[in-house]
């Protein structure tokens, strides 16, 4: 029962998703897995648990989304305390160098399938902090971002709309950032090391 796909202004329909006609008298294990994957997508889409890891200033919008006026629980979304339980990693706002190390560590602790949602322009091109000595300018080099929500501090409506968009992506099976991370793991790793130098930092405070 996935929704009809609608090419949105924002994202081109990725070419990979051609549907191939297959004789249906005996469902091969591959199809069976795929059918089950579709059903699983439905469950994954409608019960998204987000890790409220508030990296930047856009986080102030989340309480609005959670509470009575916009109530994201209608979409089946709940804030969760630990990365193990969460599906979505919210990068709300700029990601500084130190925060990136923690983001990577937390991202790797999450169970798959997992999605990254980036708020505001700071994740896209550094936003207003593009010339700061500590802030990264492109998040998607280090983490596979599934959804960007525009707005320097996106309004709650934008956030809700973004989440609905994410649900559509998941149901249509397009939100495959985590597969991409696994497939191009070394590319991501090299970017990370090049930017951060050493993810697991060892210094006076961590021995």
């Amino acid at each position: 029962m996935p929704k009809k796909e609608r090419p949105s202004r924002f994202h081109p329909v990725s070419h990979t998703m051609q549907t191939v006609e297959v004789p249906t008298e005996k469902i091969s294990p591959q199809e069976q897995a795929e059918a089950w994957e579709k059903i699983a997508h439905y469950f994954r889409a409608n019960s998204l648990w987000m890790l409220n890891y508030c990296t930047g200033c856009c986080a102030i919008e989340l309480p609005l989304v959670m509470t009575s006026q916009y109530d994201m629980e209608r979409l089946g979304m709940m804030p969760m305390a630990t990365p193990r339980q969460a599906d979505i990693l919210l990068v709300t706002g700029y990601a500084s160098l130190k925060t990136l190390r923690r983001l990577i560590y937390t991202y790797e602790q999450m169970g798959t399938p997992k999605y990254v949602v980036a708020f505001g322009p700071c994740a896209v091109n550094g936003g207003i902090y593009h010339d700061a000595y500590a802030v990264l300018n492109r998040l998607d080099l280090y983490l596979p971002v599934d959804l960007y929500i525009a707005g320097c501090m996106p309004k709650p409506e934008a956030v809700m709309n973004g989440f609905k968009r994410l649900i559509e992506l998941i149901e249509s099976g397009q939100a495959t950032g985590w597969k991409d991370y696994e497939r191009r793991f070394d590319w991501y790793k090299s970017n990370q090391l090049e930017a951060v130098g050493e993810v697991y930092i060892h210094d006076e405070f961590h021995e």
Binding site: A40, R44, S68, Q69, E73, R74, G76, Q85, Q109, G111
Partner: protein, 301 residues
Amino acid sequence: MNALQSIGTGLGMALFGWLLQTTISGVTRKVIARIQKRRGPVWYQNFRDIMKLLNKRSVTHGWAFDFGLLVALAGAIGTAMFMPVAGIVAFKGFDNFFMIIYLAALGVFGRALSSGSSGNPLATIGVMRGLTQNIGYKVPYMLLVIALISYYRTSSISEIVELQRVSGWSVLVMPLGFVVAFISLHGMLGKKPFDTYLAPAEIASGPLVEYGGKQLGILMIAHELSVFIEVSLFVNLFLGGGATLPEFLLKYAFIYILSSSLGAVMGRFRIEQVVRFYYKVPIALTIVQILMLAVMRGGVR
């Protein structure tokens, strides 16, 4: 009822218990949302959560981590099989109170074992708080039930239900006891004032820190089943347990939603306050109740 048939009814009871509790907790999430003036999820949201979790690929910390989990779920299922609901009893004559409490305790121990072996001190602290709280509310609760047992002269739940139908609900026998039992039930369910062991703000959801994917899914199923056991035990012992299914469901839903909505409006106690509270108020009320019962040494049979 031959063995196979009773086991079949038992499993059916466990499944029914899980379905009932998951739906009611979904409805309760909507009620709580209404209390907080927001729309809240669809009623089958919990099913979707559990199914999503079972499809996630998460992390394991060794065989003890998974074994403890299976023991927790097995304990919950095993206990649920014995639970008499609205006249249907899987194993006639064997559903006595102590056995149910101890089999459920086995489930609790399984959960403690698996979260302990996750290696995260937050989990151990969470389990410590859970056990400390457990000793707080279990003692008055079991004392009351022992008073009931000696009053009805039987410890089998289904017989107590029949006796209550004859001589009126136990609420009338032990009004104070009912209040204390409800407070203990509130503690058992881990609702707000007493959810120090799950405190997401303080210890990042306590024992559940390291659970994700199917482990968390199994744990939620076990949690739903144990909630079913506790609430239906409460309903059977104190509210006459329902002659027909709808009556039972009504009482069940009323108690659970009342408890959850109470939880929704209260803040969280600190762990010392929880322990000190449980050693003052409920124990005192229980003793008063037992003295009243001893004085009125009737006994039904």
